[in-house]
């Protein structure tokens, strides 16, 4: 699907907005480049928001499909391509929340064996990560989405607010409560 190849040197300096402008004109090659650039951030955000790998892949596939089929709706004046795509991903994730399966409860984290070869520190890190994953399952999808954008993509409060259709102040509260909740859950489960 590279009938109209874009020179790599040009792509390296071309902002995604320029690719998007070509996508709006039905340029499949430009869409392929754009999709390659957006799919991993989209997958990270979806997987962390949903806590579900397979569901996240579905979401990204659908989100990219919308990007292609509804490209003409994109309005550069209202924000970046990344922001628009992020919002599509978030909306799809939150739409799926009702069909989310319950994941392993915190107590089951005790039974998960560490895959670390031997060092105690590695084992402890695995243990902490397992407890974090279990604690994450208890958060609301919006909290996980905010954490994923803040820590995964390094987004500002304003950027996260735009994706979640809320205010930066509300995002501060969302993140603050999520972090407090996580710490409590992790510490609670760490006690013998």
């Amino acid at each position: 699907m590279r009938a109209l190849p874009i020179p790599p040197a040009m792509t390296a300096q071309t902002p995604l907005a320029l690719l998007m402008a070509r996508v709006v004109d039905g340029d499949a090659a430009a869409f392929t480049r754009l999709a390659e650039a957006l799919q991993m951030p989209g997958l990270r955000l979806a997987e962390r928001t949903l806590n579900d790998r397979a569901g996240a892949q579905d979401v990204v596939q659908v989100a990219l499909t919308r990007l292609w089929t509804m490209a003409a709706r994109y309005d550069p004046a209202r924000g970046s391509v990344e922001g628009w795509f992020r919002r599509i991903v978030i909306n799809l994730c939150l739409d799926r929340r009702r069909s989310l399966k319950l994941v392993a409860p915190l107590s089951e984290a005790d039974n998960v064996a560490s895959s670390a070869p031997d060092p105690f520190e590695q084992a402890a890190a695995n243990d902490r990560r397992t407890r974090l994953d279990a604690a994450m399952a208890t958060l609301a999808p919006r909290q996980r989405a905010a954490l994923a954008m803040f820590h995964g993509d390094g987004l500002s409060m304003a950027e996260i607010a735009a994706a979640l259709d809320t205010t930066p102040k509300a995002v501060e509260g969302l993140l603050g409560r999520a972090r407090i909740e996580l710490r409590k859950l992790i510490e609670m489960e760490s006690r013998p």
């Binding site: 997958l43 596939q61 490209a71 003409a72 939150l94 995964g152 259709d165 993140l175 603050g176």
Partner: protein
């Protein structure tokens, strides 16, 4: 910078000073030097940051079928020839485009009346007896709240119902 304010910032932004609001960083770090509670909160936040950074970034790549997407038609204006596009909202059509002759009006009115009559004729009366075997399903009076307990923003349910639900044409596309 008060202790509470410092703890609020650490709670929301974590322990990385580069992520804090620019005007607050120096004051917060200075307070952490003199206040053990703030210093402890900073240490704990940095430990959690390390966990969260790993959690957010360690996602294995997946194969997304991009070629399958580009095989789909892009159902946008660009698929329609310019002559078949709808005019923008607010555009006034020329009189010739909307004019209907008197004869055509009579046919349209007649057709509408005939369609209504046919609909009434074919509509079977429903009596309570005929309805007896039908299982009724009650519907909730209001849309269930999508906001999870503890979510204090309350906008989630509204957004879910208004923004997040795809329109009919979006549903067709997916």
């Amino acid at each position: 910078m008060t202790r509470d304010h410092a703890l609020d910032i650490i709670s929301a932004y974590g322990g990385d000073a580069s992520r804090w609001p620019a005007t607050q960083g120096a004051a917060l770090l200075a307070l952490a030097d003199s206040d053990a509670v703030v210093a402890d909160a900073l240490i704990a936040a940095r430990q959690l940051d390390t966990l969260l950074d790993g959690w957010a970034r360690d996602v294995a790549p997946a194969t997304i079928d991009i070629a399958a997407i580009t095989r789909l038609p892009a159902v946008t204006e660009r698929l329609l020839p310019a002559t078949k596009r709808l005019p923008p909202v607010g555009t006034h059509l020329p009189a010739a485009a909307t004019a209907v002759s008197p004869a055509a009006r009579r046919w349209l009115a007649g057709g509408l009346v005939a369609a209504m009559a046919a609909g009434i004729a074919f509509m079977a009366p429903v009596t309570p007896a005929a309805d007896a075997g039908i299982e009724t399903v009650s519907t909730p009076a209001a849309v269930p709240l999508a906001t999870a307990p503890g979510d204090m923003f309350g906008s989630d349910a509204v957004a879910f119902a208004t923004v997040f639900t795809p329109t009919a044409d979006e549903d067709v596309l997916i």
